[in-house]
């Protein structure tokens, strides 16, 4: 199917099903119940799941396959966002040209930064990318204010030209991004008993883009190009003495992953048409590293899982406060209740970063394959065959043998 191996096609179908039914899957608890705060099925968060999924998928093409650890990928995300907002300001509120420009500008930026940074490897490459990204951030924050909006960020204004839209939006409100009349922020609600499910146009649009990105990533992983990238990670010396030049391969991977980041940035701006410099700050670059490692570096589905997990923690775990904890443990005797709340409290709410940091360290130390490897180990524990669906590079062996 789609020119994919059976197991890759199954994986794609799984992701398709998950994204299409996400409004249901993420909203398992009835409205108004105590558990409703764990519902993640609201448009804003669902959009973030898939958009950061795209970002992480792209990052994984670079880091997962070639082993080059970039600490500056957020720069491309930011560039994508700025480009998209400019397209909304100048051309049209249609998201397609905005996203196209976001991908192209991010690609050009990645080409320039990659061309320079890839002249070094290892820690030096990481520092170079970090330096470039911090430079971009500093410039966007200060000198480039006419282009980036500086501290306040780049926003739409009523008197933006919007050449193509013309009079259509002259009505006095700032228009919203859309796709041929479908507004990204529009949602339909489905009420089933106590459950409320929200179907948002922006989410479904992003989800389709994510599926396309995911499909493309599978193709890249299984292509001769992808194999060469894994060879670069494994042994550059041998690659050199096999008559292959690693530089164009790594540069191509860098540009592709930069374009993925630009796509994510463009989508972000399409969901909410503003862009700020903080999107380029190095902590944002660090976040995508965390996502990729946590989910499973070098695997196909891992980065998507990692992105989902971190965004879930950021938006859900962070909202739990001590009152909520007290209601959970209310069934216990008072002393025990208070003790448990005291013990748990540092790890939730505002302290969710602590949980993330600990989780991340545990993964790096004990589970280099991330959640995916964890899943596989558990699957093995139960005597099942190696979980096929969640398998990326590690099992590519089978795909390189001719079909029997």
């Amino acid at each position: 199917m789609f020119g994919l191996e059976k197991k890759d096609a199954r994986l794609l179908l799984l992701v398709l099903a998950l994204t299409m039914f996400a409004p249901f899957i993420l909203n398992p608890f009835p409205e108004g119940s105590g558990w409703a705060q764990f519902n993640a099925g609201y448009p804003d968060l669902m959009q973030r799941f898939v958009i950061f999924g795209i970002f992480a998928i792209g990052f994984n093409i670079l880091f997962g396959l070639t082993g080059y650890l970039s600490f500056g990928h957020a720069a491309f995300l930011g560039v994508g966002s700025y480009s998209a907002v400019w397209m909304f300001k100048l051309l049209s509120m249609n998201v397609l040209p905005a996203i196209a420009l976001a991908v192209v500008t991010a690609g050009i930026f990645a080409l320039i930064i990659g061309y320079v940074s890839l002249r070094r490897s290892g820690i030096y490459f990481s520092i170079l990318t970090l330096a470039f990204a911090q430079m971009s951030f500093a410039l966007a924050y200060s000198v480039l204010t006419p282009i980036t909006g500086g501290e306040t960020g780049l926003q739409l204004a009523l008197d933006d030209p919007r050449i193509l839209d013309g009079a259509a939006h002259a009505a006095g409100n700032i228009p919203v991004p859309g796709l041929f009349g479908l507004e990204m922020r529009d949602s339909a609600e489905l009420v089933l008993g106590a459950w409320v499910f929200t179907f948002n146009i922006g989410y479904y649009f992003s989800a389709f883009v994510m599926l396309a990105s995911f499909y493309l990533a599978i193709r890249i992983f299984r292509s001769p190009f992808g194999m060469m990238l894994r060879a670069i990670k494994s042994n550059q010396q041998r690659l050199n003495y096999t008559g292959l030049n690693p530089r164009p391969y790594t540069l191509a991977a860098f540009v592709i992953s930069g374009m993925y980041a630009g796509l994510a940035g463009g989508l972000m701006a399409s969901m909410d048409p503003l862009a700020g410099a903080e999107r380029m700050f190095w902590t944002a670059s660090g976040e995508v590293v965390l996502m990729t490692i946590l989910g499973g570096v070098g695997t196909l589905i891992g980065p998507v899982l990692g992105a989902g997990m971190i965004k879930y923690m950021e938006n859900i775990l962070s909202k739990i406060n001590s009152d909520i904890l007290h209601t959970w443990f209310a069934f216990l005797p008072d002393g025990l209740e208070n003790l448990l709340v005291t013990l748990v409290y540092p790890f939730i709410g505002k302290g969710w970063h602590l949980t993330l940091g600990i989780l991340f360290m545990l993964v790096v130390i004990f589970l280099p394959g991330g959640l995916v490897e964890g899943g596989q180990r558990i699957a093995k524990l139960f005597g099942r065959k190696k979980a096929k669906d969640t398998d990326g590079g590690a099992d590519a062996a089978n795909s390189t043998t001719p079909a029997e």
Partner: protein
């Protein structure tokens, strides 16, 4: 002329902090071969040692002061620090006033302990793993450490003043025969620079003149050979890690009056300190110090109004720009040895 002197002076305190952090980073990288992303967190913990000590010293109890009354006519309740009771009012107040410098004594054992625990408990297991893994795990550790600090101390900067005696400023302008008030420089920054110079000197002297230091230097040059001599190099390297942690911590302690410490100050400094290390040359101690001061001063020159008018925004990017140019033209940095991670 006076403007130039002022900029050099302004660059010194940031440069001192860069140099001290970079020195520790280089010690760790040179001895253990580990790229420590948690080093900034050690700087930050040092700063919070000062916060902690000044809080401990100022712990007070409430007493009723019969001699004074509040607006309702009742005897006034006043907070009296315990140190007043123990050392008398004058000595007590002096202790509170001098909390930051006193924290040095408190911070040294704490930082060495943290460093040794970190090395034995975590870093040790990563010697043989790729640099990317070391970066990742120490990055995770940095997040954990800074979140712990955030949990206990909150997210806002905590003002931690210098002793009363150091709150004024030097008027270098008047001293050097320029117009008065053109070169104003706070005392504490001068103290910080002197302190940094002493620490750097002490580290170099320690490495240069003690047997311990000699073995460590030999180990930095060629770990295997030294190992073959039957010297337990690992134990010494653990101590070096503790020492590097202490250097970073002390840099943090003394920095608190310059910038009120907050939980993410370590990360802010770390990114720049890495750039400093790379510019100085991975594994070169003099390089780290030199690059630290150079970049600190360069940054302050780039912030001059005259410069910004010519090249807007240069002050924001100068350090990164220099780093990129150095990395591309001279990958081993200013003073790096040939062959140390040149690729």
């Amino acid at each position: 002329m006076d403007a130039i002197i002022l900029q050099i002076l302004n660059g010194l305190d940031k440069g001192s902090a860069y140099a001290l952090i970079a020195l520790g980073l280089t010690l760790i990288f040179g001895t253990l071969g580990v790229v420590n992303f948690a080093h900034g967190a050690l700087f930050m913990i040092g700063a919070f040692c000062a916060v902690t000590l000044s809080r401990i010293i100022s712990v007070s109890h409430t007493v009723i002061d019969e001699t004074r009354t509040d607006f309702l006519g009742n005897p006034m309740k006043v907070e009296v620090p315990y140190v007043h009771g123990w050392f008398g009012v004058e000595t007590g107040d002096a202790l509170i006033d001098w909390a930051v410098p006193l924290s040095i004594i408190f911070a040294i054992p704490v930082m060495i302990l943290i460093g040794v625990i970190m090395e034995r408990g975590l870093i040790k297991h990563f010697y043989k793993r790729p640099h990317a893994d070391q970066i990742l795990v120490t990055f995770g550790l940095a997040i954990v450490l800074q979140e712990i600090i955030k949990y206990y101390y909150g997210a806002n900067p905590i003002p931690t003043p210098a002793p009363e005696a150091f709150t004024g400023s030097f008027d270098f302008g008047a001293m050097l025969g320029f117009d008065p008030n053109t070169i104003i420089y706070p005392y504490w920054r001068l103290v910080y620079f002197a302190f940094a110079a002493i620490i750097i000197g002490a580290v170099f002297a320690f490495l240069q003149f003690t047997t311990f230091g000699m073995v460590v230097r030999a180990g930095m040059a060629d770990r295997e050979t030294v190992g073959l001599l039957g010297i337990n190099i690992d134990k010494r390297f653990t101590i070096m890690f503790g020492l590097a942690a202490a250097v970073a911590g002390l840099a943090g302690v003394m920095y608190t009056p310059i910038n009120s410490p907050n939980y993410h100050m370590g990360m802010d400094f770390l990114v720049l300190s890495f750039v400093v290390v790379v510019v100085g040359g991975m594994g070169s101690l003099p390089g780290a110090v030199l690059a630290g001061f150079l970049l600190g001063i360069l940054e302050s020159f780039a912030s001059m109004r005259q410069v910004i008018e010519i090249i807007p925004g240069i002050n924001q990017v100068i350090i990164y720009l220099v780093a990129i140019i150095i990395l591309l033209t001279r990958p081993r940095g200013l003073m790096g040895r040939k062959g140390v991670m040149e690729e």
